[in-house]
Amino acid sequence: MQASRTIIDSKNNWKILNLADLWHYRELFWFLVWRDIKVRYKQTVLGATWAVLQPILTMIIFSVVFGKLAGLPSDGVPYPIFTFAALLPWQLFAYALTNSSNSLVNEKNLITKVYFPRIIIPASSIIAGLLDFLIALVIFFILMIVYKITITWRLLLMPLFVIVAVVTALSVGLWLTTLNVKYRDIRYVIPFLTQVWMYATPIAYSSSLIPEKWIWLYSLNPMVGVVDGFRWMMIGQQVLFPPYFFISLLAVAFLLVTGFLYFKSTEDTFADVI
């Protein structure tokens, strides 16, 4: 009977990582992911077809608006391919950012009714987007075949860029979801932030359009590196500025650590405030 023993103390004795606790609830993490995936397209007429339609429709719109009408250059690559390669990581990122930022508030019912390590909530909320990503990836490969683009060994680096995209989303998401518990203004900030961020990322246009003297600032956005990385892997575009990319990775690491600490330091009050 004495096997497990819990001490609840008013004093601030929080451990940064209670590994035993996390281990005990590891299955819950996957259950929440599984639920998100299951529920994602329920009660939609088209169901999982949305995962196919979304990137394709966006690609078409971008191709017409930015490629044809605005006539933005695409570095000699067919515009649809050019923009799709960027939309792949971007939609994954945008999904992960939005979902993790709203995650705690969305799980209010759980937070006020049952205990489990709260970090599971934002962490699990970003995973379901990976499924959509994989579906979009398959479409992309089909497009590559249609446009006769050669597939290279560079693709092996994809997991790296995916991880950067997801971790960037999580690091910002941790901050926003924690703030969101107390300040519901954040809800309105998220779509706006996502939109601004998208224009600050070379999705509809090529990063080669950026004037030389601003490149350092521009590439502090980690998604610039991710999107350029995708274009480099898929369509052989030149990577412009790896050194700055590494600086942006440092920024992500900083955000991730501080976001996590902020999350942990207010975790105890979630149920009272939310």
Binding site: T112, Y115, D185, I186, T269, D272
Partner: protein, 423 residues
């Protein structure tokens, strides 16, 4: 090995009332208030008056295998205590030692997702309550059996009736096997038959030597399940002892309290001319003693306090007052009763006064409800606090006079009737 399952020392929990009322802050409010505090700091005083101790100086030891009932009015701190023990919220003072795996059941259907099927929800809810997948696999058939919804196992839960939903949800929860089980008011649901089954299951749990802490307004359930109980009042333990004694004490306490009237005049959103305003209400039993809790079926008086705007003695004629009772989850009332429906209207002269309405048999099942009221004069709205004027708490009692508890709070209206077989 000690035989103490739960040791609570000097436990306290302080809430900011402001944080409770305005559910969340906006960034702007927070920025402006921290700005305001910047200037206030000169006084060197921290405002303590908008905080409330939901629990204070709780010391308690619960032995292994003990089934402890926790009794008290709404706001006495029962749920806060369970929430602290369940590690949902953190105490402000004190310390708790829990020896054994803790499972909590603070709500029926925690983690259920309406879009998922019954089968899927068993796994999801089980995992959220802390069960492992193998454990759920092992108990799956038992859970389905217990819930009696086998046919609908692969139907989305949103298509379930509320009874089916509750049965499934409770079935999952009832198969948790923690050494310490915390239960909050979950038996106030479902039909009588199923309630009995749940009580039986809980009884099994209790007899298996597990420690159970059990909050309920259902005195019959507390009496059935727990041998000892504590009575909480305003965040402190008023007494601890044999369940029978504690229940007696609780019921006699309910009757004598006197704080159900409150000032309404400052309450927010309201419409009407304002010539006569509602300033408060209280509820009295048949003897005219103010009460906090209404027992289903008892005789009660609803007393409404009003205030006339102009101080002249000019009488106002044709004053009609009505009140309504709403379920918390619904905006449409369970009933509305205006004095004019009963052929009564009032003439108001002086500045302040009371109007009361006597109900012979209070027809509503146990639960918490919102009370609304409105005054009209010559058919023109004089005052209508749109968010209602307060809440009332109804506790279970022998409404039918037969000892039957009836259908439960999913059917909030109670009526009695005479049954016979036509020859």
């Amino acid at each position: 090995m000690s035989d103490i399952a739960i040791r609570i020392e000097n436990l306290g929990k302080k809430y900011r009332i402001g944080a409770n009322q305005a559910r969340y802050q906006t960034l702007r409010e927070s920025l402006t208030s921290s700005f305001a505090n910047l200037f206030k700091k000169g006084n060197g005083q921290h405002t303590e008056d908008n905080t409330i101790w939901a629990l204070k100086d709780i010391d308690l030891e619960v032995k292994h295998g003990e089934v402890l009932g926790i009794i008290g009015r709404n706001g006495a701190g029962k749920s806060t205590l369970l929430k602290i023990l369940a590690r949902i919220t953190k105490p402000t003072t004190g310390r708790v030692e829990l020896n054994g795996r803790v499972g909590s059941l603070l709500e029926v259907g925690t983690g259920f997702h309406p879009e998922l099927t019954g089968r899927e929800n068993i796994y999801l809810s089980g995992a959220i309550l802390g069960m492992h997948r193998q454990e759920i696999n092992r108990k799956f058939d038992e859970i389905v059996d217990f819930s009696e919804i086998e046919k609908f196992l692969d139907t989305q839960v949103k298509h379930y009736s509320s009874g089916m939903y509750m049965r499934l949800a409770f079935a999952v929860a009832a198969h948790l096997e923690p050494e310490i089980l915390l239960v909050d008011e979950v038996l106030a649901v479902g039909d009588a038959e199923f309630q009995k089954k749940c009580l039986g299951k809980m009884g099994d749990v209790a007899h298996e030597g597990r420690t159970v802490l059990f909050v309920s307004h259902n005195m019959a359930a507390i009496q059935n399940l727990s041998t000892s109980s504590i009575l909480l009042n305003q965040g402190s333990i008023l007494s601890k002892g044999k369940t029978n004694k504690i229940i007696d004490k609780y019921l006699s306490n309910l009757k004598s309290s006197d704080n159900s009237s409150m000032s309404l005049l400052t309450e927010g959103k309201r419409s009407g001319t304002g010539s006569v305003k509602l300033s408060g209400f209280r509820i009295e039993n048949a003897k005219g003693i103010p009460i906090d809790f209404i027992q289903s079926g008892e005789e009660v008086n609803f007393v409404f306090l009003y205030q006339k705007a102009d101080l002249s003695n000019e009488p106002l004629k044709n004053v009609d007052i009505g009140f309504s009772i709403h379920e918390l989850s619904s905006s449409s009332p369970l009933f509305v009763l205006y004095s004019s429906y009963m052929g009564t209207s009032f003439q108001i002269r002086s500045g302040n006064g009371e109007i009361q309405c006597n109900l012979k048999t209070f027809p509503i099942a146990a639960g918490r409800y919102r009370l609304g009221a409105r005054i009209t004069i010559n058919g023109i709205e004089s005052d209508w606090p749109q968010m209602g004027i307060g809440h009332i708490n109804v506790v279970e009692s022998d409404f039918y006079g037969t000892g039957q508890i009836g259908f439960g709070s999913t059917a909030p209206l109670l009526i009695s009737g005479k049954w016979s077989l036509e020859k």
